[in-house]
Symmetry: C2
Subunit: 235 residues, 2 copies
DNA sequence: GCGCATAGTATGGTCAGACCACACTTCGAA
DNA sequence: TTCGAAGTGTGGTCTGACCATACTATGCGC
Protein backbone atom coordinates (compact mmCIF):
# COMPACT_ATOMS: atom_id res chain seq x y z
CA UNK A 1 0.00 0.00 0.00
CA UNK A 2 2.06 2.87 -1.29
CA UNK A 3 1.35 6.46 -0.46
CA UNK A 4 2.09 7.11 -4.10
CA UNK A 5 -0.90 5.62 -5.85
CA UNK A 6 -0.55 7.01 -9.37
CA UNK A 7 1.88 9.85 -9.90
CA UNK A 8 1.02 10.74 -13.44
CA UNK A 9 4.09 11.79 -15.35
CA UNK A 10 2.48 14.84 -16.89
CA UNK A 11 1.51 16.16 -13.45
CA UNK A 12 5.14 16.99 -12.77
CA UNK A 13 5.20 19.37 -15.70
CA UNK A 14 1.82 20.85 -14.77
CA UNK A 15 2.92 21.51 -11.21
CA UNK A 16 6.18 23.01 -12.35
CA UNK A 17 4.42 25.40 -14.71
CA UNK A 18 1.80 26.38 -12.16
CA UNK A 19 4.53 27.10 -9.68
CA UNK A 20 6.42 29.22 -12.21
CA UNK A 21 3.24 31.15 -12.90
CA UNK A 22 2.71 31.89 -9.21
CA UNK A 23 6.29 32.98 -8.71
CA UNK A 24 6.16 35.17 -11.79
CA UNK A 25 8.89 33.24 -13.58
CA UNK A 26 6.32 32.74 -16.31
CA UNK A 27 3.91 35.45 -17.38
CA UNK A 28 1.31 36.05 -20.02
CA UNK A 29 2.81 36.16 -23.45
CA UNK A 30 5.84 34.12 -22.50
CA UNK A 31 6.92 31.17 -24.54
CA UNK A 32 7.20 27.80 -22.88
CA UNK A 33 10.37 25.81 -23.45
CA UNK A 34 10.09 23.35 -26.29
CA UNK A 35 8.58 19.96 -25.65
CA UNK A 36 11.89 18.23 -26.14
CA UNK A 37 13.58 20.54 -23.66
CA UNK A 38 10.87 20.06 -21.03
CA UNK A 39 11.12 16.32 -21.50
CA UNK A 40 14.80 16.39 -20.72
CA UNK A 41 14.42 18.83 -17.82
CA UNK A 42 11.93 16.60 -16.05
CA UNK A 43 13.42 13.33 -17.20
CA UNK A 44 10.23 12.13 -18.79
CA UNK A 45 9.28 11.29 -22.33
CA UNK A 46 8.11 13.84 -24.81
CA UNK A 47 4.75 12.05 -24.93
CA UNK A 48 4.12 12.85 -21.28
CA UNK A 49 5.18 16.46 -21.75
CA UNK A 50 2.71 16.64 -24.60
CA UNK A 51 -0.03 15.43 -22.24
CA UNK A 52 0.65 18.39 -19.99
CA UNK A 53 0.77 20.89 -22.83
CA UNK A 54 -2.40 19.48 -24.28
CA UNK A 55 -4.15 20.00 -20.94
CA UNK A 56 -2.96 23.59 -20.70
CA UNK A 57 -4.19 24.06 -24.23
CA UNK A 58 -7.67 22.77 -23.49
CA UNK A 59 -7.82 24.84 -20.33
CA UNK A 60 -7.18 27.94 -22.42
CA UNK A 61 -3.86 28.64 -20.75
CA UNK A 62 -1.56 28.23 -23.71
CA UNK A 63 -1.86 28.49 -27.43
CA UNK A 64 0.32 26.19 -29.47
CA UNK A 65 1.50 26.64 -33.00
CA UNK A 66 4.03 24.96 -35.24
CA UNK A 67 7.02 26.55 -36.85
CA UNK A 68 9.79 28.51 -35.25
CA UNK A 69 10.24 32.06 -34.05
CA UNK A 70 8.84 34.16 -31.24
CA UNK A 71 5.22 33.25 -31.90
CA UNK A 72 5.70 29.52 -32.26
CA UNK A 73 5.48 26.80 -29.71
CA UNK A 74 3.38 27.04 -26.59
CA UNK A 75 2.66 30.63 -25.61
CA UNK A 76 0.94 31.52 -22.37
CA UNK A 77 -2.42 33.15 -22.84
CA UNK A 78 -5.41 33.42 -20.57
CA UNK A 79 -8.71 32.42 -21.99
CA UNK A 80 -10.59 30.99 -19.03
CA UNK A 81 -13.85 30.76 -20.88
CA UNK A 82 -12.41 28.27 -23.35
CA UNK A 83 -11.78 25.46 -20.92
CA UNK A 84 -14.76 26.08 -18.73
CA UNK A 85 -17.23 26.28 -21.59
CA UNK A 86 -15.82 23.13 -23.12
CA UNK A 87 -16.29 21.37 -19.80
CA UNK A 88 -19.81 22.66 -19.36
CA UNK A 89 -20.76 21.68 -22.88
CA UNK A 90 -19.55 18.12 -22.45
CA UNK A 91 -21.27 17.73 -19.12
CA UNK A 92 -24.42 19.09 -20.67
CA UNK A 93 -24.14 16.42 -23.35
CA UNK A 94 -23.55 13.76 -20.72
CA UNK A 95 -26.63 14.94 -18.84
CA UNK A 96 -24.51 15.70 -15.82
CA UNK A 97 -26.04 19.16 -15.89
CA UNK A 98 -29.12 20.50 -17.59
CA UNK A 99 -30.29 23.60 -19.36
CA UNK A 100 -32.28 24.85 -16.39
CA UNK A 101 -29.12 25.07 -14.34
CA UNK A 102 -27.30 27.00 -17.04
CA UNK A 103 -30.14 29.49 -17.43
CA UNK A 104 -30.45 29.93 -13.68
CA UNK A 105 -26.75 30.59 -13.43
CA UNK A 106 -26.79 33.08 -16.28
CA UNK A 107 -29.57 35.04 -14.63
CA UNK A 108 -27.77 34.95 -11.32
CA UNK A 109 -24.52 36.29 -12.72
CA UNK A 110 -25.92 38.83 -15.12
CA UNK A 111 -28.45 40.38 -12.78
CA UNK A 112 -25.77 40.61 -10.12
CA UNK A 113 -23.41 42.35 -12.51
CA UNK A 114 -26.15 44.72 -13.58
CA UNK A 115 -27.02 45.78 -10.06
CA UNK A 116 -23.44 46.15 -8.96
CA UNK A 117 -22.28 49.75 -8.91
CA UNK A 118 -19.66 50.19 -11.65
CA UNK A 119 -16.14 49.98 -10.32
CA UNK A 120 -14.90 52.40 -12.87
CA UNK A 121 -17.29 55.13 -14.09
CA UNK A 122 -15.13 55.95 -17.06
CA UNK A 123 -15.15 52.34 -18.20
CA UNK A 124 -18.89 52.20 -17.59
CA UNK A 125 -19.46 55.09 -19.95
CA UNK A 126 -17.31 53.42 -22.57
CA UNK A 127 -19.38 50.27 -22.22
CA UNK A 128 -22.59 52.18 -22.71
CA UNK A 129 -21.22 53.78 -25.86
CA UNK A 130 -19.89 50.55 -27.28
CA UNK A 131 -23.04 48.57 -26.57
CA UNK A 132 -24.99 51.27 -28.39
CA UNK A 133 -22.91 50.50 -31.47
CA UNK A 134 -23.53 46.78 -31.04
CA UNK A 135 -27.27 47.38 -30.87
CA UNK A 136 -27.15 49.25 -34.15
CA UNK A 137 -25.20 46.47 -35.78
CA UNK A 138 -27.74 43.94 -34.59
CA UNK A 139 -30.42 45.94 -36.38
CA UNK A 140 -28.91 45.05 -39.71
CA UNK A 141 -31.42 42.82 -41.44
CA UNK A 142 -28.67 41.29 -43.60
CA UNK A 143 -26.87 39.94 -40.57
CA UNK A 144 -26.35 36.20 -40.52
CA UNK A 145 -27.67 34.41 -37.52
CA UNK A 146 -24.22 33.35 -36.37
CA UNK A 147 -23.07 36.94 -36.53
CA UNK A 148 -26.12 38.04 -34.58
CA UNK A 149 -25.38 35.57 -31.79
CA UNK A 150 -21.78 36.66 -31.71
CA UNK A 151 -22.63 40.32 -31.29
CA UNK A 152 -25.37 39.42 -28.83
CA UNK A 153 -22.84 37.60 -26.69
CA UNK A 154 -20.45 40.54 -26.85
CA UNK A 155 -23.29 42.81 -25.75
CA UNK A 156 -23.99 40.76 -22.65
CA UNK A 157 -20.36 40.27 -21.71
CA UNK A 158 -19.61 43.97 -22.12
CA UNK A 159 -22.44 44.95 -19.83
CA UNK A 160 -21.30 42.45 -17.24
CA UNK A 161 -17.77 43.79 -17.43
CA UNK A 162 -18.95 46.98 -15.72
CA UNK A 163 -18.99 45.15 -12.42
CA UNK A 164 -15.25 44.68 -12.76
CA UNK A 165 -15.13 41.04 -11.77
CA UNK A 166 -13.24 38.89 -14.23
CA UNK A 167 -14.23 35.68 -12.52
CA UNK A 168 -17.90 36.41 -12.98
CA UNK A 169 -17.23 37.62 -16.50
CA UNK A 170 -15.45 34.40 -17.46
CA UNK A 171 -18.15 32.24 -15.99
CA UNK A 172 -20.79 34.17 -17.89
CA UNK A 173 -18.97 33.78 -21.16
CA UNK A 174 -18.51 30.09 -20.53
CA UNK A 175 -22.17 29.59 -19.82
CA UNK A 176 -23.07 31.28 -23.08
CA UNK A 177 -20.67 29.23 -25.15
CA UNK A 178 -21.61 26.01 -23.51
CA UNK A 179 -25.18 26.33 -24.56
CA UNK A 180 -24.84 27.87 -28.02
CA UNK A 181 -25.00 24.47 -29.66
CA UNK A 182 -28.23 23.74 -27.90
CA UNK A 183 -29.74 27.09 -28.88
CA UNK A 184 -28.80 26.70 -32.51
CA UNK A 185 -30.49 23.31 -32.60
CA UNK A 186 -33.66 24.21 -30.81
CA UNK A 187 -34.62 27.30 -32.77
CA UNK A 188 -34.73 26.40 -36.44
CA UNK A 189 -33.21 28.93 -38.75
CA UNK A 190 -36.38 29.63 -40.67
CA UNK A 191 -39.35 31.95 -40.48
CA UNK A 192 -39.76 31.14 -36.77
CA UNK A 193 -36.49 32.88 -36.08
CA UNK A 194 -37.52 36.27 -37.45
CA UNK A 195 -40.16 37.09 -34.80
CA UNK A 196 -37.72 36.03 -32.09
CA UNK A 197 -34.96 38.29 -33.27
CA UNK A 198 -37.34 41.25 -33.38
CA UNK A 199 -38.20 40.76 -29.71
CA UNK A 200 -34.55 40.35 -28.82
CA UNK A 201 -33.69 43.67 -30.48
CA UNK A 202 -36.43 45.42 -28.56
CA UNK A 203 -35.29 43.89 -25.28
CA UNK A 204 -31.67 44.84 -25.89
CA UNK A 205 -32.67 48.43 -26.47
CA UNK A 206 -34.71 48.54 -23.28
CA UNK A 207 -31.83 47.06 -21.31
CA UNK A 208 -29.40 49.53 -22.79
CA UNK A 209 -31.70 52.41 -21.98
CA UNK A 210 -31.99 51.33 -18.38
CA UNK A 211 -28.20 51.23 -18.09
CA UNK A 212 -27.76 54.56 -19.83
CA UNK A 213 -30.19 56.23 -17.43
CA UNK A 214 -28.58 54.47 -14.50
CA UNK A 215 -31.66 52.47 -13.52
CA UNK A 216 -29.65 49.48 -12.52
CA UNK A 217 -32.36 47.54 -10.74
CA UNK A 218 -34.64 47.93 -13.69
CA UNK A 219 -31.81 46.79 -15.95
CA UNK A 220 -31.38 43.68 -13.85
CA UNK A 221 -35.07 42.95 -14.04
CA UNK A 222 -35.13 43.43 -17.80
CA UNK A 223 -32.14 41.14 -18.22
CA UNK A 224 -33.84 38.43 -16.23
CA UNK A 225 -36.94 38.71 -18.37
CA UNK A 226 -34.81 38.76 -21.49
CA UNK A 227 -32.97 35.57 -20.63
CA UNK A 228 -36.04 33.80 -19.32
CA UNK A 229 -38.07 34.69 -22.39
CA UNK A 230 -35.37 33.66 -24.81
CA UNK A 231 -34.95 30.19 -23.35
CA UNK A 232 -38.71 29.77 -23.17
CA UNK A 233 -38.56 29.97 -26.98
CA UNK A 234 -36.15 27.07 -27.27
CA UNK A 235 -38.00 23.84 -27.41
CA UNK B 1 -5.62 28.36 -48.65
CA UNK B 2 -7.38 25.27 -47.47
CA UNK B 3 -10.71 25.32 -45.68
CA UNK B 4 -9.16 22.71 -43.45
CA UNK B 5 -6.68 24.70 -41.39
CA UNK B 6 -5.77 22.26 -38.64
CA UNK B 7 -8.09 19.37 -37.99
CA UNK B 8 -6.59 17.99 -34.84
CA UNK B 9 -6.73 14.24 -34.85
CA UNK B 10 -8.04 13.93 -31.32
CA UNK B 11 -10.94 16.24 -32.14
CA UNK B 12 -12.49 13.50 -34.22
CA UNK B 13 -12.73 11.26 -31.19
CA UNK B 14 -13.98 14.08 -29.00
CA UNK B 15 -16.74 14.98 -31.46
CA UNK B 16 -17.73 11.38 -31.84
CA UNK B 17 -18.03 10.90 -28.10
CA UNK B 18 -19.91 14.14 -27.60
CA UNK B 19 -22.32 13.14 -30.30
CA UNK B 20 -22.83 9.70 -28.76
CA UNK B 21 -23.53 11.36 -25.43
CA UNK B 22 -26.15 13.63 -26.95
CA UNK B 23 -27.85 10.81 -28.77
CA UNK B 24 -27.81 8.66 -25.68
CA UNK B 25 -25.62 5.98 -27.23
CA UNK B 26 -23.27 6.66 -24.33
CA UNK B 27 -24.51 7.35 -20.83
CA UNK B 28 -23.14 7.88 -17.38
CA UNK B 29 -21.44 4.76 -16.08
CA UNK B 30 -20.78 3.34 -19.51
CA UNK B 31 -17.38 2.11 -20.47
CA UNK B 32 -15.65 3.65 -23.47
CA UNK B 33 -14.17 1.26 -26.03
CA UNK B 34 -10.51 0.58 -25.46
CA UNK B 35 -7.93 3.00 -26.79
CA UNK B 36 -6.72 0.52 -29.35
CA UNK B 37 -10.26 -0.08 -30.58
CA UNK B 38 -11.02 3.63 -30.88
CA UNK B 39 -7.81 4.14 -32.77
CA UNK B 40 -8.83 1.57 -35.33
CA UNK B 41 -12.42 2.86 -35.55
CA UNK B 42 -11.30 6.37 -36.38
CA UNK B 43 -8.23 5.36 -38.33
CA UNK B 44 -5.88 7.37 -36.15
CA UNK B 45 -3.03 6.40 -33.89
CA UNK B 46 -3.48 5.36 -30.33
CA UNK B 47 -1.48 8.43 -29.29
CA UNK B 48 -4.14 10.72 -30.69
CA UNK B 49 -6.91 8.73 -29.07
CA UNK B 50 -5.08 9.13 -25.82
CA UNK B 51 -5.08 12.88 -26.30
CA UNK B 52 -8.86 12.83 -26.48
CA UNK B 53 -9.24 10.57 -23.47
CA UNK B 54 -6.82 12.69 -21.48
CA UNK B 55 -8.94 15.77 -22.22
CA UNK B 56 -12.13 14.04 -21.13
CA UNK B 57 -10.29 12.98 -18.00
CA UNK B 58 -9.20 16.51 -17.13
CA UNK B 59 -12.68 17.82 -17.86
CA UNK B 60 -14.04 15.40 -15.27
CA UNK B 61 -16.01 13.45 -17.83
CA UNK B 62 -14.30 10.11 -17.60
CA UNK B 63 -12.35 8.22 -15.03
CA UNK B 64 -9.60 5.94 -16.30
CA UNK B 65 -8.08 2.97 -14.65
CA UNK B 66 -5.79 0.17 -15.69
CA UNK B 67 -6.50 -3.49 -15.66
CA UNK B 68 -9.39 -5.34 -17.25
CA UNK B 69 -12.97 -5.99 -16.33
CA UNK B 70 -16.13 -3.89 -16.03
CA UNK B 71 -14.52 -1.15 -13.95
CA UNK B 72 -11.41 -0.74 -16.02
CA UNK B 73 -10.63 1.57 -18.87
CA UNK B 74 -12.37 4.86 -19.40
CA UNK B 75 -15.74 5.07 -17.64
CA UNK B 76 -18.07 7.99 -18.15
CA UNK B 77 -18.70 10.03 -15.03
CA UNK B 78 -19.72 13.63 -14.60
CA UNK B 79 -17.67 15.68 -12.23
CA UNK B 80 -17.99 19.23 -13.56
CA UNK B 81 -16.17 20.73 -10.61
CA UNK B 82 -12.97 18.88 -11.53
CA UNK B 83 -12.39 20.56 -14.85
CA UNK B 84 -13.70 23.95 -13.82
CA UNK B 85 -11.65 24.20 -10.69
CA UNK B 86 -8.50 23.11 -12.46
CA UNK B 87 -9.07 25.76 -15.11
CA UNK B 88 -9.90 28.45 -12.59
CA UNK B 89 -6.90 27.63 -10.45
CA UNK B 90 -4.45 27.82 -13.31
CA UNK B 91 -5.87 31.07 -14.58
CA UNK B 92 -5.73 32.63 -11.18
CA UNK B 93 -2.11 31.57 -10.97
CA UNK B 94 -1.45 33.14 -14.35
CA UNK B 95 -3.17 36.43 -13.64
CA UNK B 96 -2.35 36.79 -10.01
CA UNK B 97 -5.02 36.21 -7.47
CA UNK B 98 -7.50 38.96 -6.96
CA UNK B 99 -9.01 38.19 -3.61
CA UNK B 100 -11.74 40.77 -3.94
CA UNK B 101 -13.14 39.05 -7.00
CA UNK B 102 -13.07 35.67 -5.35
CA UNK B 103 -14.79 36.93 -2.25
CA UNK B 104 -17.41 38.73 -4.29
CA UNK B 105 -18.09 35.63 -6.35
CA UNK B 106 -18.29 33.35 -3.34
CA UNK B 107 -20.75 35.65 -1.61
CA UNK B 108 -22.82 35.90 -4.75
CA UNK B 109 -23.08 32.16 -5.25
CA UNK B 110 -23.50 31.13 -1.64
CA UNK B 111 -26.07 33.72 -0.66
CA UNK B 112 -28.04 32.90 -3.77
CA UNK B 113 -27.99 29.21 -2.95
CA UNK B 114 -29.02 29.94 0.61
CA UNK B 115 -32.02 32.01 -0.34
CA UNK B 116 -33.17 29.67 -3.08
CA UNK B 117 -36.05 27.48 -1.98
CA UNK B 118 -34.77 23.88 -1.80
CA UNK B 119 -35.62 21.91 -4.90
CA UNK B 120 -35.95 18.73 -2.92
CA UNK B 121 -37.16 18.98 0.69
CA UNK B 122 -36.01 15.47 1.49
CA UNK B 123 -32.51 16.24 0.32
CA UNK B 124 -32.59 19.52 2.24
CA UNK B 125 -33.29 17.68 5.46
CA UNK B 126 -30.46 15.29 4.76
CA UNK B 127 -28.16 18.23 4.23
CA UNK B 128 -29.14 19.77 7.54
CA UNK B 129 -28.47 16.50 9.32
CA UNK B 130 -25.15 15.92 7.61
CA UNK B 131 -23.91 19.45 8.17
CA UNK B 132 -24.71 19.04 11.85
CA UNK B 133 -22.29 16.13 11.91
CA UNK B 134 -19.65 18.18 10.15
CA UNK B 135 -20.02 20.95 12.72
CA UNK B 136 -19.43 18.47 15.51
CA UNK B 137 -16.35 17.12 13.76
CA UNK B 138 -14.99 20.64 13.36
CA UNK B 139 -15.27 21.07 17.12
CA UNK B 140 -12.55 18.51 17.63
CA UNK B 141 -9.59 20.39 19.06
CA UNK B 142 -7.21 17.67 17.79
CA UNK B 143 -8.19 18.32 14.20
CA UNK B 144 -5.36 19.27 11.89
CA UNK B 145 -5.77 22.50 10.06
CA UNK B 146 -5.90 20.79 6.67
CA UNK B 147 -8.65 18.54 7.90
CA UNK B 148 -10.55 21.53 9.26
CA UNK B 149 -10.44 23.28 5.90
CA UNK B 150 -11.55 20.12 4.15
CA UNK B 151 -14.59 19.70 6.37
CA UNK B 152 -15.28 23.42 6.20
CA UNK B 153 -15.37 23.22 2.41
CA UNK B 154 -17.69 20.24 2.55
CA UNK B 155 -19.96 22.18 4.88
CA UNK B 156 -20.31 25.07 2.45
CA UNK B 157 -20.74 22.91 -0.62
CA UNK B 158 -23.35 20.78 1.07
CA UNK B 159 -25.41 23.78 2.04
CA UNK B 160 -25.20 25.14 -1.48
CA UNK B 161 -26.31 21.81 -2.89
CA UNK B 162 -29.77 22.44 -1.49
CA UNK B 163 -30.47 24.82 -4.32
CA UNK B 164 -30.13 21.91 -6.72
CA UNK B 165 -27.90 23.64 -9.24
CA UNK B 166 -24.84 21.65 -10.18
CA UNK B 167 -23.31 24.52 -12.09
CA UNK B 168 -23.41 26.86 -9.13
CA UNK B 169 -22.19 24.08 -6.90
CA UNK B 170 -19.25 23.37 -9.19
CA UNK B 171 -18.32 27.01 -9.45
CA UNK B 172 -18.37 27.31 -5.69
CA UNK B 173 -16.21 24.28 -5.22
CA UNK B 174 -13.83 25.55 -7.87
CA UNK B 175 -13.47 28.92 -6.20
CA UNK B 176 -12.66 27.24 -2.92
CA UNK B 177 -10.08 24.93 -4.44
CA UNK B 178 -8.55 27.71 -6.45
CA UNK B 179 -7.70 29.79 -3.41
CA UNK B 180 -7.03 27.17 -0.78
CA UNK B 181 -3.35 27.62 -1.56
CA UNK B 182 -3.62 31.34 -0.89
CA UNK B 183 -5.54 30.91 2.36
CA UNK B 184 -3.05 28.44 3.72
CA UNK B 185 -0.25 30.89 3.03
CA UNK B 186 -1.82 34.02 4.43
CA UNK B 187 -2.89 32.79 7.84
CA UNK B 188 0.13 31.36 9.60
CA UNK B 189 -0.45 28.12 11.38
CA UNK B 190 0.44 29.37 14.80
CA UNK B 191 -1.28 30.91 17.80
CA UNK B 192 -2.97 33.46 15.48
CA UNK B 193 -4.98 30.64 13.95
CA UNK B 194 -6.66 29.52 17.16
CA UNK B 195 -8.82 32.64 17.71
CA UNK B 196 -9.86 32.53 14.06
CA UNK B 197 -11.03 28.96 14.20
CA UNK B 198 -13.12 29.71 17.28
CA UNK B 199 -15.00 32.43 15.46
CA UNK B 200 -15.47 30.21 12.43
CA UNK B 201 -17.03 27.48 14.58
CA UNK B 202 -19.44 29.95 16.10
CA UNK B 203 -20.40 31.31 12.69
CA UNK B 204 -20.95 27.85 11.27
CA UNK B 205 -23.30 27.01 14.10
CA UNK B 206 -25.29 30.20 13.60
CA UNK B 207 -25.57 29.51 9.89
CA UNK B 208 -26.67 25.97 10.49
CA UNK B 209 -29.26 27.09 13.00
CA UNK B 210 -30.71 29.58 10.51
CA UNK B 211 -31.02 26.81 7.91
CA UNK B 212 -32.51 24.36 10.37
CA UNK B 213 -35.18 26.86 11.38
CA UNK B 214 -35.79 27.78 7.76
CA UNK B 215 -34.68 31.40 8.12
CA UNK B 216 -33.13 31.45 4.69
CA UNK B 217 -32.64 35.17 4.37
CA UNK B 218 -30.93 35.27 7.70
CA UNK B 219 -28.77 32.35 6.64
CA UNK B 220 -27.73 34.25 3.55
CA UNK B 221 -26.84 37.27 5.61
CA UNK B 222 -24.82 35.21 8.06
CA UNK B 223 -22.95 33.53 5.22
CA UNK B 224 -22.04 36.88 3.74
CA UNK B 225 -20.71 38.07 7.08
CA UNK B 226 -18.89 34.78 7.56
CA UNK B 227 -17.08 34.97 4.22
CA UNK B 228 -16.34 38.67 4.49
CA UNK B 229 -14.95 38.29 7.98
CA UNK B 230 -12.80 35.32 7.11
CA UNK B 231 -11.06 37.02 4.22
CA UNK B 232 -10.57 40.15 6.29
CA UNK B 233 -8.34 37.96 8.44
CA UNK B 234 -6.09 36.93 5.57
CA UNK B 235 -3.25 39.33 5.12
C1' DG C 1 -17.75 -30.88 -6.68
C1' DC C 2 -15.03 -27.26 -4.22
C1' DG C 3 -11.27 -23.93 -3.09
C1' DC C 4 -7.55 -21.63 -4.41
C1' DA C 5 -3.14 -20.64 -6.54
C1' DT C 6 -1.69 -19.89 -11.16
C1' DA C 7 -1.38 -18.52 -15.99
C1' DG C 8 -3.71 -15.77 -19.40
C1' DT C 9 -5.55 -11.56 -21.27
C1' DA C 10 -6.95 -6.87 -21.86
C1' DT C 11 -6.50 -2.42 -19.95
C1' DG C 12 -4.27 2.25 -19.56
C1' DG C 13 0.64 4.51 -18.69
C1' DT C 14 4.97 5.37 -20.45
C1' DC C 15 8.66 5.41 -23.44
C1' DA C 16 11.77 5.78 -27.71
C1' DG C 17 12.37 7.04 -32.21
C1' DA C 18 10.89 8.49 -36.44
C1' DC C 19 8.69 11.49 -40.08
C1' DC C 20 5.82 15.47 -41.47
C1' DA C 21 4.19 20.38 -42.24
C1' DC C 22 5.11 24.66 -40.96
C1' DA C 23 7.32 29.30 -39.93
C1' DC C 24 10.91 31.70 -39.17
C1' DT C 25 16.30 32.53 -40.05
C1' DT C 26 20.20 32.63 -42.57
C1' DC C 27 22.85 33.19 -46.39
C1' DG C 28 24.22 33.28 -51.02
C1' DA C 29 23.26 34.61 -55.77
C1' DA C 30 21.54 38.11 -58.86
C1' DT D 1 20.30 45.75 -51.98
C1' DT D 2 16.95 42.32 -52.99
C1' DC D 3 15.07 38.06 -53.02
C1' DG D 4 14.79 33.20 -53.28
C1' DA D 5 16.67 28.83 -51.54
C1' DA D 6 18.50 26.07 -47.96
C1' DG D 7 18.68 25.43 -42.94
C1' DT D 8 16.75 24.90 -38.33
C1' DG D 9 13.53 24.35 -34.69
C1' DT D 10 8.65 23.94 -33.61
C1' DG D 11 4.46 21.16 -32.61
C1' DG D 12 1.50 17.10 -34.77
C1' DT D 13 1.27 12.45 -35.77
C1' DC D 14 2.46 7.76 -36.11
C1' DT D 15 4.51 3.15 -34.94
C1' DG D 16 5.75 -0.31 -31.98
C1' DA D 17 7.27 -1.66 -27.84
C1' DC D 18 7.26 -2.64 -22.67
C1' DC D 19 5.23 -2.13 -17.99
C1' DA D 20 1.95 -2.56 -13.90
C1' DT D 21 -2.49 -3.61 -13.01
C1' DA D 22 -6.95 -6.07 -12.47
C1' DC D 23 -9.92 -9.07 -13.85
C1' DT D 24 -10.82 -14.07 -16.01
C1' DA D 25 -10.08 -18.70 -16.93
C1' DT D 26 -7.61 -22.71 -16.00
C1' DG D 27 -6.43 -26.61 -13.60
C1' DC D 28 -4.47 -28.70 -9.68
C1' DG D 29 -5.15 -30.76 -5.06
C1' DC D 30 -8.47 -32.20 -2.11
Amino acid sequence: MSINPAPRAYQVVLDSIESDLRSGKLALGDQLPGERALAEQHQISRASVRDAIRILDVLGLVKTSTGSGPNSGAVIISNPAAGISQALRMHLAAKGINVREIVESRILLETWAAQMPPRNPHHAQQVIDRTAVLIMRMDDAQLSREEFHRIDAEFHVLLASMAGNTVVESMMESLRHSISHYVAESIPNDESWQPVVRVLRRQHKAIHHAFATNQRERAAQLIEEHITWFYSQTR
